[in-house]
């Protein structure tokens, strides 16, 4: 009953406004037309004068130059003309590793998620990455990275980004790698080493990804300066998926960068990540060296600093170049921890108590291209077990002051920009009382569209 009356009232109210608005728009249009014609006539007059002055000169070009594409007859219509850029990355390796049932980093919760191989012995292929990207329309760009592996296709990134917000702003939405740190946005095929560094492995698994939104601003300054903020679901480690509205994780990051002379360039950054975890599964050792399954609920905060320095003689990186990179992260977690077993949901009775930890780690690496196509590099990874407080420790969990470290040395050969073969040897001391020498032979091949790599 009420609806038609409301509608009538709304229409009555809307029409005069609408009419006014239309009149205003017409007036504005007329004004614009007038201004446009005036400026055009002015420009024409100016051009006339200019031509009169130059009339004596030999050459007067009457036609405006036309783009070559316009001069040629049209190609036959093709339905695939708008296909996005597609590239496929094939990677695989031979790994010579000790036989260990389970691998973990002593003193650290195992970061959930997957690893692209890396722990399989012998021959294996890593995930094959399919990258598809294109402009969606004048306003958006789209990008997808799917990892094809046995029995699964994982969407690593699937996002859109605005291209014409202006003022140095861009919004990214969907699933994307967070802009924190330096290596985080890089997928394994763009890593300088076969295996991930220990800090990322302990803190993020492979890298921190999120479903959400990112706002990035680039300053209009000569010194490169960008600021970014992200809010998202926060489902990946160190957060967990939670059945709630709102955001589960927030990230802030900023980068500065520039050149020093023609041969050197650098970038430095600071990042912060806050994530919420609810019953995050973990595994720790207890005082009897037995595995104890745990659930953590609470907040995880990470801050980090990253620095990259690149050198190439006269800025010409094709012959020789050197890259130094280092990242430091510090994580503090606060909440509650309880025991758990596979058979039951939630906490085991009388096992819950307060949990606080503060842990950190860093890696530092140098990669040197000593002649075209050949590079060698060394990386040192180190974690600090920091302080872990289990409260009254009802689960009798063990604390440790063991410092996990790893040395890695690599040599790679890239016959072209699209292929790379790598040999790596690592001395891994990430598990207490284990010193393991690991050997890797790896290939990374890229098919299709020419990839452009970030700094």
């Amino acid at each position: 009953m009420l609806r038609p009356a409301l509608l009538a009232a709304a229409l009555a109210a809307a029409f005069p406004v609408h009419a006014d608005a239309e009149l205003d728009a017409l007036r504005a249009e007329l004004r614009e037309l007038k201004i446009a014609y005036e400026t055009r006539i002015q420009a024409l007059e100016e051009r006339l004068k200019a031509t009169e002055v130059e009339a004596g000169a030999a050459q007067i070009r009457t036609a405006e130059p036309r783009e070559q594409a316009a001069a040629r007859p049209a190609d036959p219509t093709r339905s695939n003309a708008f296909n996005p850029a597609i590239s496929l990355i094939l990677q695989g390796q031979y790994a010579h590793l000790d036989n260990r049932g389970e691998r973990g980093i002593t003193g650290f919760f195992p970061a959930g998620g997957h690893a692209h191989g890396g722990t399989e012995r012998g021959f294996s292929i890593g995930g094959s990455e399919l990258v598809i990207s294109a402009s969606i329309d004048p306003t958006f760009r789209g990008h997808l990275i799917a990892v094809l592996a046995d029995d699964e296709v994982e969407i690593e990134e699937a996002w859109f980004q605005t291209t014409r917000l202006g003022q140095g702003l861009a919004i990214k939405g969907g699933r994307f790698r967070s802009g924190l740190g330096y290596q985080n946005e890089r997928h394994p095929h763009a890593w300088d080493f076969t295996t991930n560094n220990l800090v990322y492995e302990a803190l993020f698994g492979e890298g921190y990804g999120n479903d959400g939104l990112q706002l990035k601003w680039v300053a209009p300054t000569e010194l490169f300066m960008e600021l970014g903020a992200e809010a998202g679901r926060g489902a990946s480690f160190p957060g967990t998926d939670r059945n709630t509205n709102g955001a589960g994780s927030y990230a802030l990051f900023g980068h500065l960068g520039g050149d020093v002379g023609a041969s050197n360039s650098w970038r430095a950054g600071l990042s912060y990540l806050a994530a919420k975890a609810s019953e995050r599964e973990g595994e720790l050792e207890d005082l009897n060296d037995e595995h104890a399954e745990t659930l953590f609920s609470g907040k995880s905060k990470i801050w980090g600093a990253d620095f990259v320095w690149k050198w190439a003689p006269n800025g010409n990186a094709s012959e020789q170049n050197f890259k130094f990179a280092a990242e430091y992260f510090r994580r503090s977690e606060r909440g509650s921890l309880c025991g758990h077993d596979e058979a039951n949901e939630g906490c085991l009775t009388d096992t819950e108590d307060a949990y606080r930890s503060r842990q950190s780690g860093f890696y530092t690496q140098g990669v040197y291209q000593f002649m075209p196509r050949w590079r060698t590099g060394y990386r040192y990874d180190r974690l600090n077990p920091g302080s872990v407080d289990f409260g009254s420790n009802p689960l009798e969990l063990a604390t440790t002051d063991y410092t996990p470290t790893r040395h890695s040395l690599m040599l790679d050969y890239s016959p072209s920009e699209f292929s790379r073969l790598r040999l790596q040897v690592s001395q891994d001391k990430s598990m207490e009382s284990v010193r393991e020498n690991q050997w890797f032979v790896q290939y990374i091949h890229s098919l299709g569209a020419h990839g452009a790599h970030t700094f």
Binding site: T163, L165, V218, P220, M225, G315
Partner: protein
């Protein structure tokens, strides 16, 4: 904080339009933009003559410059495919995105040579659109200059008349220079030369030189010693008068060949800044011709 942001945003457009910022991907386009834009533009060259334009790092400093640019002038034809997209995506500058007036590709105004009959990466670093080193023919620079004049007038309407006047003056001087160079270069007709990379196809086509050998086995692939030995053998049969390389390229292959065969190796400036004499576009071609004429009989 909010007030600060608002202030910052209000202040930005004024700041950005103080002078027209031109971001040139290569030194030749930086030089051309300076000729046509004169004092009305501030030109930044992303690369120097000592850098390989195929392989440039997408450095933070380049992103910062791209962010400030009102006009981006690049070669196109996939020459910058490894780094320009990264800059465009990360600089968040709407005005210079492809398709907008602020994005200018020289290759779109020039007929390209060496267009590959088939596209396969087995043939090396091939460019689907054709050879991108188009500025080595001064007639192409004239074509690009016309288009760039029109574009500068479009992007910078306040100084449109000045851009057009400078553009016409440059075209007249350049046309005269081309006539002068063509007269001087008459002895170069049919001169057989070897090139390290297909950097000079347009130059050779313009002056009628003959390219009898390429040192790279495939585009963008460094020659191995065994391949160079084959090239040396080939040059025994069809001798060349000079081996040409660009200033940014490694001197090793051309020098090795020169020492082996006695054919002089010439380091041509390739672009503005490639040597002490090539300090502008006119100097670039003056020096290139002088060097080539020394090799002619």
């Amino acid at each position: 904080m909010k007030r600060l942001l608002v202030l910052l945003i209000l202040w930005l457009p004024v700041y950005a339009h103080a002078a027209l910022n031109v971001f040139a991907c290569e030194p030749e386009w930086a030089a051309l933009a300076k000729e046509i834009g004169g004092g009305d533009v501030k030109v930044y060259s992303a690369t120097t003559a000592m850098q390989d334009p195929h392989r440039i790092e997408a450095r933070p400093s380049l992103i910062a410059q791209m962010r400030r640019a009102n006009l981006v002038v690049c070669t196109g034809a996939d020459l910058e495919v490894g780094w320009l997209p990264v800059l465009l995506q990360n600089a968040n500058n709407a005005a210079v995105q492809p398709g907008r007036p602020g994005y200018f590709e020289a290759a779109r105004f020039v007929p390209l040579l060496d267009k590959p009959a088939r596209l396969d990466r087995a043939d090396g670093d091939v460019h689907a659109a054709g050879n991108p080193h188009l500025h080595t023919d001064p007639r192409n620079i004239l074509r690009v200059a016309e288009a760039l004049t029109a574009r500068l007038a479009e992007v910078d309407p306040a100084n449109a008349a000045a851009h057009r006047a400078r553009g016409q003056a440059f075209a007249a001087r350049w046309q005269a220079a081309i006539t002068r160079w063509e007269t001087r270069a008459a002895p170069l007709k049919n001169l057989p030369v070897a090139v390290q990379h297909k950097s000079f196809s347009y130059l050779l086509a313009w002056l009628g030189l003959r390219e009898v050998a390429v040192l790279e086995p495939r585009p963008g692939v460094e020659p191995s010693v065994s391949h160079l030995a084959r090239v040396a053998a080939q040059l025994q049969a069809t001798p060349a008068r000079a081996v040409l390389r660009a200033a940014y390229q490694s001197p090793r292959p051309a020098d090795w060949l020169a020492s082996r065969t006695g054919i002089p190796a010439l380091a041509l400036p390739y672009t503005v800044g490639g040597n002490a004499r090539a300090q502008d576009l006119f100097g670039l071609f003056d020096d290139t011709l002088d060097q080539l004429l020394k090799a002619a009989p």
